[in-house]
Symmetry: C2
């Protein structure tokens, strides 16, 4: 029996592509927001949920970080890296010179600024809740309207590709995480995500953490300080490490870090994603129980 | 004679508010993009330029980081912290129940998601190049249209405030930086921003940097790893420190950091911004030479 996986919908979004890349046999269930995906996992409406966590250009996705911090029973069990490629799509028959309005999600609009200001400086840019919704809206509209979306949405909705790979930066990758009620067993090639904050703001605390990691030869893949929403001027730290939280040397370091921090939360350990490949299959749409 | 300051325009944006908060006597010149502001400073079309660098919710502004890395002759000479408060604005006479379309910049649309999905779940969300442009567009449109914008834009364009402080998070601050051809002299309460990357990816390098800072009792205010756009899988680090790059203990640490990194760039030292206050004055609009 195939698994039932929630994702940030609707159909045709990058989250759906990431979910297919993760498990092409799964039954996929779209949800309108990231927190609804998380909630569906928490109440076991779906077995797992796929949500974006960071983009190589735009940075972290605050909603996903928030819910990982707030929902202590949700864990990251996998990561999926998806190269982001944006396409300018139109209804068949629409000519470039007649385009006066362009729909997309705010993020792709921001990531195609150079293309848009060069070729469509006068077009009205309209925000849609997702790239897929933008393409759908465009297909139901009059000629003269375009959408920035995915090749997959173009295929699904019979849109015509007017321009290929219009994103400002050719290397543009979004990292998605798969949420579950437990993380993944050690595989020998793992990544561990955690967050912590200190009781006071003084020099050397973060250095002590990194020194501990270095003394155990633990490689750090990511570090980011972010303001605590409820305490302006104070920060928490997001850190990703190479290795699994149950590897002996990491257990020791995490125990130490926990002892010198107040907030301390391991988001999970999971296999590192290697070699992304495009997803093509159309998922089955049966509703999960 | 007053100074001539460029900002991310048009009039009525948060960047204009930040520029006024920085210098209420300046002549302000709007530019359509962050890189055009930077360029105007570089060619001395304006004396200084005000651009956003990070938001407490949304994170770093990639365009500003990019140009600081790419333009080695531009420096941060000041910082300005602006509390972000969003308002739902309409043409006088428009009733809440008739609103079918809402304009704003993609960022405020994203930061008012809870409000929008609660009160206007069916409204069309339209992306404008700035909050000010959104309000202007709304005022020129038919009734039934609203915009998310600033109180200042409401006053300037005679819009009516339909809802106050609609942002999802009450504590929402954007940090702006003032760009100049040199940074600021030491004041005794300064902040220094820098970026660096390592030749190889191995454990302990960043720990060595932080250990050096800690040994000099230098407090770190921010740290963030970001992917190098041209080398996937490799990172650079953005770090903000308390103190001035010419303070003796900081000179020593920066010399050490430079010696163990490949990319190394000090964005500047500048006085720390304390106690933000709302800007109210309308700036003079004379064109700078």
């Amino acid at each position: 029996m195939s698994r039932c996986i929630g994702y940030l919908g609707p159909q045709g979004t990058f989250s759906e592509e990431a979910a297919l890349l993760y498990d092409s046999q799964a039954e996929l269930v779209p949800f309108p927001t990231i927190s609804q995906v998380a909630n569906a996992v928490a109440i076991r409406q779906v077995e797992e949920g796929v949500v974006p966590i960071e983009n190589s250009i735009g940075g972290s996705v605050p909603e996903t970080l928030d819910l990982l911090i707030q929902q202590p029973r949700l864990f990251i069990c996998r990561e999926v890296l998806l190269p982001i490629r944006l396409y300018l799509l139109v209804r068949p028959g629409t000519e470039e010179e007649n385009i006066h309005t362009i729909f997309s999600h705010p993020q792709p609009l921001a990531q195609s600024q150079r293309f848009l200001s060069r070729y469509f400086p006068d077009a009205r840019l309209m925000a849609a809740p997702s790239t897929a919704a933008a393409v759908e809206q465009m297909m139901g509209d009059t000629h003269g309207v375009a959408a920035i979306g995915t090749r997959r949405a173009a295929r699904m909705l019979h849109a015509k590709v007017l321009a290929h790979r219009i994103q400002d930066y050719p290397v543009n990758v979004t990292r998605f995480v798969v949420l579950d009620k437990a993380d993944h067993a050690a595989t020998g090639d793992d990544r561990t995500s955690l967050c912590f904050s200190f009781a006071e703001d003084k020099p050397g605390q973060l250095a002590a953490v990194l020194q501990e990691l270095a003394s155990q030869e633990i490689n750090m893949i990511k570090i980011e300080s972010r303001p605590l929403k409820k305490t302006p001027g104070r920060y928490y730290f997001l850190v990703d490490l190479e290795g699994h939280r149950q590897d002996a040397h990491i257990v020791q370091s995490l125990t130490y870090i926990k002892s010198i921090t107040i907030l301390f939360r391991i988001f999970g350990s999971y296999p590192r994603h290697r070699s992304p490949a495009p997803a093509t299959r159309i998922a089955r749409r049966r509703r999960c129980p």
